[in-house]
Amino acid sequence: MDNLDYIENYFTGEPEASLKKEFEERIISDPEFADEVAFYLSAKQVSGEVSRLEKKGQFKEIYQSKKKTASTPVRKLVYYFAAAAVAAGIIFGTYTITNTASPKEMANQYIQSNLQNLGVKMGGGADSIQDGLRLYNDGNMTEALATFEKIARADTSSFNAKKYAGIAALRLKEFQKALSYFEQLEIYSGYYSNPALLLQAVTLMERDQPGDLAKAKLLLQKVVDNDLEGKEMAVEWLKKM
């Protein structure tokens, strides 16, 4: 690691002439060091490429989703109604129990009511997603998370793999990981049921560290202001926070 630090300092700083000479002579005289320099530069390039590819995958998902929307307006309505029905169910089911609870308790109740079991959808994607859901519903959270993460890495555009990976991480109380996955969902505007902000707020409320509640409030306010999924729930919670 010392060499990596030394290599990085060379490429990111402005080394003095004597240090520059020493560095370059070492490349020529020490093959292992030269190999580390080549690795450093290759790793930076490859890491950037992987990141750009992931973003392109997300763009592709958005683009395809927009195309689908444009060609199937009826399906859009069906999704809207389905999302509205689910949201109404969630609100109805949780309204009474969230009436007097603290934010952490409200988040807990939400998780108990809505994330205890995840529905296995017919034709809902690759088989391995279904495998992950089965593991999740059987309570094997660690294995479920590993399964969803593997799918998310293999198919960086997979909305469901990221959503379920985030939910599994939340259940395992790996809050930072959960937040990271839920943040990644935000870019999928084409999904009619995209709970990205609501789930981030739930994670923050559940984590309940200093500053989390304020951030959760901001997220919930955005859900309300932008009329996003979970708006009614967000309104209720905001009244109690």
């Binding site: 690691m1 990596l4 630090d5 990085e8 060379y10 490429f11 560095f23 370059e24 002579e25 490349i27 020529i28 030269a34 190999d35 580390e36 320099v37 080549a38 690795f39 450093y40 530069l41 290759s42 790793a43 930076k44 390039q45 490859v46 890491s47 950037g48 490429e49 992987v50 990141s51 750009r52 992931e54 973003k55 392109k56 763009f59 592709k60 958005i62 683009y63 927009k66 929307t69 993460e149 890495r153 930072q176 990981k177 990271s180 943040e183 935000e186 870019i187 505007s189 084409g190 902000l197 997220l219 955005k222 932008n226 009329d227």
Partner: protein
């Protein structure tokens, strides 16, 4: 709000959000992609590219614009539309040129030439040779095997985000902590990449 249900930002708002971190930044990236995605159709009709090619050219355009806006290379002298269209047009022309000259692959040392150029000729030539011999697909595979936080650290670094920016994205306390963690991850990647 626009027709797709998301907020319609002005050019200036998008630029400001893209230079920050957090939710607004992500939403602005999406907004930027969506706003001019009709360029893809233009790439297909004006430049006779396939839909996949036009999509790739447009995605690369947005990624280049995002980086230039973040690095403040974009100075707002032109509207976002004009700016993106210029990049997109150049990408389409490049793509056509590559297709017609069969020059589809770029030499690796050309990609990272900026950093290599810092080295003297003899040192550069030694490193170039090793870079060309490196197995980048194995490196990609091993990067994806790292734990998520490490992977994210390295990907932000690969996209030239500063340690200070990364600290803000991934909620590290300081840029120094990011640097230490990032170099540790890089070392871990090197070990698993080199392991037989």
């Amino acid at each position: 709000m626009n027709g797709s249900g998301s907020i319609r930002y002005t050019d200036q708002e998008i630029i400001e959000h893209l230079r920050q971190s957090g939710i607004d930044k992500r939403r602005s990236e999406e907004e930027l992609f969506n706003r001019f995605s009709y360029f893809i159709r233009e790439g297909m009709t004006k430049h006779t590219l396939s839909e996949d090619e036009a999509f790739n050219a447009y995605s690369d355009t947005v990624l280049a614009a995002l980086e230039n806006i973040r690095n403040t290379h974009f100075e707002s002298r032109a509207s976002l539309k004009t700016y993106l269209y210029q990049i997109f047009h150049n990408k389409c022309v490049d793509l056509i040129r590559k297709k017609t000259t069969n020059k589809n692959s770029v030499h690796r040392s050309e990609i990272i030439s900026d950093r290599l150029m810092q080295l003297s000729d003899s040192a550069r030539s030694a490193v170039q040779k090793l870079i060309d011999q490196a197995d980048w697909s194995r490196l990609r595979e091993k990067l994806n095997e790292l734990e998520e936080k490490c992977r994210q650290l390295l990907m932000f670094w690969g996209e030239n985000y500063s340690d200070k920016e990364i600290a803000s994205f991934l909620q590290y306390k300081t840029a120094d902590v990011v640097k230490t963690s990032r170099l540790r991850c890089l070392d871990r990647l090197r070990k698993i990449y080199k392991a037989e």
